[in-house]
Symmetry: C2
Subunit: 149 residues, 2 copies
């Protein structure tokens, strides 16, 4: 089941890559296992820095009265922005493809009662390793790293 | 100067209120004092839960190479979602109208090197007090509070 959910996020990441974007994908899964929303990073495609993969999936799910029992599945460890989203809206669980190429706020979320599962998925690592090597400036921009390399 | 910046955010909040929305406004101010982007909460207007005031302003500012020296001005203490945005992108300062009716992650931001200024503005407090009294369920939805009142 968890691998199926990650598969939705990976498909989103690959769609983003094919569009020339940052290859990170996510989905918000309901308490009953249905996909409430799915999406990918849209910085390049829409010129929109506010749409990380997780916020895209959250947006696609529309207004919800409660996020209790939901799971945010994402190909990459959520940055502080996306970790804050999870905490504020009470999303119960975060399922992460990998936290090797980037590590955001997942430990903080675990400290605040969110169930965190890291799958350490090799395909997710490869996707980001290649993207970071080929587009280092774009990657730094996406995580707000303005240091010169 | 700070009161002028807050005025931009308050104008956004009032525009949101006039549209029937959650009356919280924000603006991202550049290092030179120019308004890079401004916006307000759009949950009701667009059916979009991802657009809090701060994320609307951040989105409106478009892609930026660096947020060093920028100020996020907001009528209300930023929730965890919006606080995470500030931390991840290295926004230097947060100027807050009030933190009385709601308190989010501003202390956490201060602990992580963000300059935090709270103006304790009476008009901002009144705006939120009235909104929360008139639309308690909408307000709880906007901050992910799914407890029954």
């Amino acid at each position: 089941m968890l691998r199926d959910w990650l598969g939705v996020a990976v498909a989103e990441a690959r769609a983003g890559l094919a569009e020339g974007g940052v290859p990170i994908g996510a989905a918000l899964i309901g308490a009953d296992g249905e996909v409430l929303g799915r999406g990918h990073n849209r910085r390049v495609q829409d010129g929109d820095p506010s749409l990380h993969a997780e916020t895209s999936a959250f947006r696609a799910a529309g207004r919800q009265r409660s996020y209790r029992g939901t799971t945010m599945v994402t190909t990459l460890s959520p940055c502080w922005y996306c970790s804050g989203l999870v905490r504020q809206f009470g999303i119960s669980r975060v399922l992460i493809g990998e936290a090797t190429t980037f590590s955001g706020g997942h430990d903080w979320l675990a400290d605040h009662g969110v169930e965190v599962i890291i799958l350490d998925d090799r395909a997710c690592v490869s996707l980001m390793e290649r993207f970071i090597a080929e587009h280092p400036a774009l990657w730094r921009e996406d995580i707000g790293d303005d240091e010169q390399p």
